[in-house]
């Protein structure tokens, strides 16, 4: 790996559902790796039954940087109550026709995505689509009403670095005991356990703790190894 595609994505809202919240859907603060693979799959026009087989950790290198502060809001929606097997709004004793659900949304999300793929054809196709601002399916952030827009920043050369010093990192930092974080004043550090890889039947096979700074500031860390881009940005893959 010696190059990476860099592009920004944004929208008005986003919702990356936490897997353990079904009736009160909460959102991850940043798109998990699995959500990014879906996003790239939509740009490439891969069907939802098949895209996962192209994005295993062996083939696809992905990470995310925060460009806007993480803001969460709750919006309630009136959904059809499908309990008891009713799909159409149905009122009877013990069954309400509708159910009110509070969704947690991320407001004004903007992320920088970094992507490399071992399949030259798929990588080249992604690059061409991004550069021409094209997408086969409508890209969105988590759920379909959060339609997203994107901008190709460029293809950058990257180099693996091994350094003794603390450096500032542009991407999120996946937890690793070998890494040391230097906690600074006026920074808000968060870490969330997120799905990293799914099997083809959508069973999650790997979760990882991902650290980020809520306002999109770069975290200072001493890392076992990291990747440095042409433009000086430093990243770790999720």
């Amino acid at each position: 790996m010696n190059k990476v595609l860099v592009f920004d994505v944004w929208g008005e809202y986003a919702h990356f559902r936490k897997y353990y919240t079904t009736t009160s859907p909460l959102s991850y603060s940043i798109p998990p790796r699995t959500a990014v693979t879906g996003f790239i799959g939509a740009i490439l026009g891969l069907k939802k039954e098949e895209y996962l087989k192209h994005f295993t950790k062996k083939q696809a290198f992905i990470t995310v940087g925060l460009l806007n502060p993480v803001k969460k809001v709750r919006i309630s929606e009136n959904l059809i109550n499908t309990k008891d097997g009713y799909f159409i709004p149905f009122r009877k004793t013990g069954h309400q026709p509708r159910t009110q659900i509070r969704f947690e949304f991320i407001k004004d999300p903007k992320y920088r995505l970094y992507f490399y793929h071992t399949d030259d054809g798929l990588y080249a196709r992604t690059k061409k689509l991004l550069a021409n601002h094209k997408s086969i399916y409508t890209p969105y952030l988590g759920i379909s009403e959060h339609i997203a827009n994107f901008e190709f920043i460029g293809e950058m050369n990257i180099q693996k670095k091994i350094l003794e010093d603390f450096v500032k990192v542009n991407s999120v930092i996946p937890e690793d005991p070998a890494n040391k974080i230097e906690f600074e004043a006026n920074m808000e550090y968060f870490s969330e356990t997120m799905p990293i890889e799914m099997d083809f039947d959508r069973t999650v096979v790997e979760y990882r703790n991902i650290m980020f700074e809520r306002n999109g500031q770069r975290i200072k860390a001493k890392l076992k190894e990291f990747w440095e881009l042409d433009n000086g940005e430093r990243i770790l893959f999720m």
């Binding site: 929208g11 008005e12 809202y13 026009g45 939802k48 803001k71 809001v73 919006i75 309630s76 929606e77 009136n78 059809i80 499908t82 097997g85 009713y86 799909f87 159409i88 709004p89 149905f90 009122r91 009877k92 026709p97 509708r98 009110q100 509070r102 407001k107 689509l129 021409n132 601002h133 094209k134 997408s135 086969i136 399916y137 409508t138 969105y140 379909s144 009403e145 959060h146 339609i147 827009n149 994107f150």
Partner: protein, 304 residues
Amino acid sequence: MSEIISNRAEILFLYDVRDSNPNGDPLDENKPRIDEETGINIVTDVRLKRTIRDYLHDFKGEEVFIREVRKDDGKLKTKEDRLGDLKIDSPEALLNCIDIRLFGATTAIKKKTITFTGPVQFKIGKSMHRVLLKFIKGTTVMPSKEAKGQGTFTEEYILPYSLINFYGIINENAAKDTKLTDADVSLLLDAIWNGTKNLISRSKAGQMPRLLLKVNYKEKNYHIGDLDSMITLESNLRDEEIRDITEVKLDVTELMSVLSSNKEKIASIDYKADDRLSFVYNGVEKSFAECLIDAGMFINQLAL
């Protein structure tokens, strides 16, 4: 038979409400939804889709899957009843319903999960200005109980004015899966405009469609995106004091310059603009058609 759509399109739809509640929050006393950080009124995408579905069913006689259906005894029908009525025994049969062709669905038939991603998706709608929330108290003439001599009090929240901006995309690739045709899209535009106008319930009376724009692309797999943020509202009044569409002007300079720079990729523009709306392009007041022609667009006024 109408053809399955072959081009991508972006939709921009503006409508306004006066002294009404465009979309109540069921978990907040049915108050109009307001983004507390910005004072902007929010309308969910599902509210607009409900408007479209109701119009297509009630006015156009189209088969719509997601709607309230009652049995002869006044009871609502279950999903299984509905599936039986519509003779739906396979996922493909669901596509006889126009709302599934437009918006897709996630459902289960006989324990088999079916997911159709809708080719037509809308973002959450937002007002183009900060809004004022007003609390109205009223009385009813009918007592709540037999022995009472007086009616009861009512409480509700309304917006004196809100001009709402919706953005959507029609994706030609997803259209292949749900077999969305050109005729369906014509009906969709009809329903967006006339469904909004004909939604005459107590809380929605006074809704008026103001502008509908459909950008038809000839470039494959391309759309500009974010069109909704390219129109800005100008008014001499403070945002919260706006009460009528004639008190605002829409500056379309950014939208027109972006359309113009994408001229090679755009086949045509379908539009309908309300006569009471004023547009400003490069500081000059013009009709919407003139703005589009100046931007070098092929235009087609929608007959809705």
